[in-house]
Subunit: 284 residues, 4 copies
């Protein structure tokens, strides 16, 4: 059974009565809360909250909820987002030459583990076009070189806009996005194939091998203009030993990358992640 | 800086307005919530909540909070507990012949990782008396055999009562408590040296070895009258290989037992665990 | 660069000189060992070993190696297997209605993470036939009911024989194999969706949920006539909380199942697993 | 039952016949191998091996084994170490103000989990002297400041020499050792309170908190002249969330530090670690 819900994500300066005010708004309009989680960062003086309630029996029509809540939010100086479970987000998957994360995401969306529609796949290589075809999804080949990056990014932005994309997933895209791009489209999740902040930059498995670590990791994070330094959503690790070559690290890492990226995307799609500063609150 | 707080643990049949009513009770009396977490078990139709707020500036005197909240709780058919952070719980540690969990708990309490006072140590062996002495704690040697269990349990209950004990920690006590005992003193946490429900009963490491598992575990749980079947608070595991003998499993298991028991006790002492049926909600 | 190698798996009663004799056999014939691992089970009085060496420069022709080694093995009362890296094993994947392990194995074989040829897919349902088609693999629909199991197993055995299958992978096949079948085809790896021996039998995630555990697991094991009791090759776990419904356990479990099954199959395909009694030695 | 054994650790340029030659040396002298593990780093062209055999029935007297093996080792250009299980290594524990690793090591040595004798404790603070007294161990208070480091290190070296110390364990010593010191005493294991190479240097938990990671770690490594860059023996991690403050990271980290340091020390004391370049082979 699917329950139709609304979800509020709120962040505001900490003060008395926040839970009471938000919960009362929902209760007084006839809503039944099915998930409520709050966090206070005492150091930052910030209150962050996620509340999800059933729309059935709720007395406000959907198009008025935001306006009504804004009347409460404004005096609290609150930032807020309102999401409806029946609105399925639309994603673009960006890939380069490796197919493991792409296959994994396509399978999860097809299996309804991830509730999303796939608008399109963008790649700087032609290599994975056949997978897109296999799953019946648009594939846009936009090769990047030293001189054409700016114009290609404009085409990418146009494609995202036309397809009404909510989220870009960098599924081993291996290219840096420019500040201009991110200002125009800030919702980008990346999988970095290391346990950040260890092994920032290129070839992290080679770096890990040469440092002789006993554990490797992967990190799903939002992209910001500072490479590999964006807010972290999810991380996981796997043990390795002296028997593992660089090729073994790459192989073991692929399983991590798939799972960590999928978990990060899922948390985002369910509106469970709030970013503040360079940190995330994950209401899992 | 230590903040003086009150914590409410509430469970009641699910219905509209629960978060609003509890939060409004605190807000209307001038309290500032610093931790609020809720869970709805849709299948069981149960709402469970933990709310912690600062007492500074709260307008109700501490001895009236319970009575005032009861007026709200009764119509909701809610079970509730109220705890104050300044009340340090008093624990009894029960041991048999192994000292690793005892040392670990004593260190954690001494280091203030666990906020508790140790009232006494009870053991069915004399072996660990010197450790009690080393830390300046009462040690009661109450040997158990087939014929004296009932009378020894009466003595144990008397000791717990006299010392005003809130929680018994079975730190490898290796003895079954009777139903009579548990009816008189239900707050008992045990560490079982397996990943329950695998390897219930005696010698779980020998069982694990002979089954040839690749992972072993430990489980902190409340004791109920059904042996090794009480509500689980915390579990953890460690990988093993064919190179590990039974002695290695026991050694590796000790590290798990210490950490899992300490985590379980900490969660309980911070009033983060709610039991319903045979399950726990852990507001970690 | 791919190195052509031979691998010996040896198990025999423990006695002096075993490593020396096996290593000298390889050295005296001009072989260079690239992997050698041994294990002595002192309790069982058993020596187990895996030695892999380069065939380049080895003076014995491949078809004589076995016979020559047998002269050494016989007086030691050793069981032994000889495998050549250039012989790619042929597997059959058996499925029921769930596709996650099937997709995962197909991807890993296609990506050459698993070095195997897929001979055929067998299923008691028609549901996954389209995936077989997508990857260009034979799909045999052999429905099982209470009255036809014996005759269907005969057909299955015939298919395995005709396709020269080395290993059957039960990728969520959800059916018990008969003793007769296993006597005719003993090389079967299964993925059980629990941390065995916890939650033997049907619906382990429902069992795990109702027991209220805080960790779930998956187990790759060889099938024996005693259901869910065969030798364990690999296990892994993931943490869960009170927020996870049975559906969440199933979803999280799928990731475990995929990875644990793939690891178990990989270890088998690389001839890294030796079974003795109900245990495995895994020379990872 | 304790078995008297000898252990050879060997590393040499890879070439044919190494396993055969070493194993034959032991066999021809009547030894029974109970543990043999080898590793070939194909890239570095290096062979590394650990072989342990029973001394009972071995025909060479202990004081001749080394000389006899040297005749084999020299033509192979092999580095080697020979250790006897009856020789219990002597360690010095160096601490600063935190007691958790010290207590943990003392308990493990007392419980015979770690087979070592404790020669002395050295600290730059007086704070933990009472723990040394409690366990009846010499405590040397050698405060370090900007001007006296050189002379204090000379005293430290003298103490180590006089007490015949084999291994220094930096159990949260929080001071850098000079190159001079390390040239005179190179056997030093440190516990770094992060998942190296992330968060090198001071206050790694504060760094981890401010970066917003979702996992923290600890690393046991040999000390080299390059701070926090020595060969890693063991690492482990624990998950954290937005609810964890810096204090929580420190608390959770302590459990990691204790376990990771104890594992690293145990592996070293059992002569299971071989260092080459900046890497370790751990024959666990």
């Amino acid at each position: 059974m699917v329950i139709d819900t609304a979800t509020l994500l709120v962040s505001c300066p900490d003060q008395q009565g926040l839970v009471a005010k938000i919960a009362s708004f929902i209760y007084s309009n006839g809503g039944n809360i099915i998930h409520a989680d709050h966090h206070t960062d005492l150091e930052a003086g910030l209150f962050l909250s996620r509340i999800e309630w059933q729309l059935q029996g709720f007395n406000l029509p959907k198009d008025l909820i935001g306006r009504a809540f804004n009347a409460i939010a404004q005096p609290l100086k609150a930032d807020w987002q309102l999401h409806f479970s029946e609105t399925i987000p639309k994603v673009a998957i960006w890939v380069s030459q490796q197919d493991h994360c792409l296959y994994d995401l396509l399978w999860r969306i097809q299996a309804k583990e991830l509730k999303a529609k796939i608008g399109l796949i963008i790649s700087n290589h032609e290599k994975l076009a056949s997978i897109a075809e296999q799953f019946g999804i648009e594939y846009h080949y936009l090769p990047i070189n030293n001189s054409n990056k700016k114009e290609q990014e404009l085409k990418q932005l146009e494609l995202l806009k036309k397809a009404d994309i909510d989220l870009v997933i960098l599924a081993k895209y291996m290219q840096v996005l420019s500040s201009d791009f991110l200002q125009n489209f800030p919702n980008v999740i990346n999988i970095h194939h290391s346990f950040l902040p260890a092994f920032i930059g290129a070839k992290p498995y080679h770096q890990a091998y040469s440092r002789g670590v006993k554990i490797i990791g992967a990190t799903a994070h939002y992209i910001t203009q500072d490479l590999d330094a964006g807010p972290i959503i999810e991380q996981d690790v796997v043990k390795i030993s002296h028997r593992d070559t660089v090729e073994d690290l790459i192989r073991k890492g692929k399983d991590l990358e798939k799972i960590v990226l999928a978990r990060g995307v899922r948390l985002h799609l369910q509106h469970r992640v709030l970013v503040y500063g360079n940190r995330t609150v994950v209401f899992a």
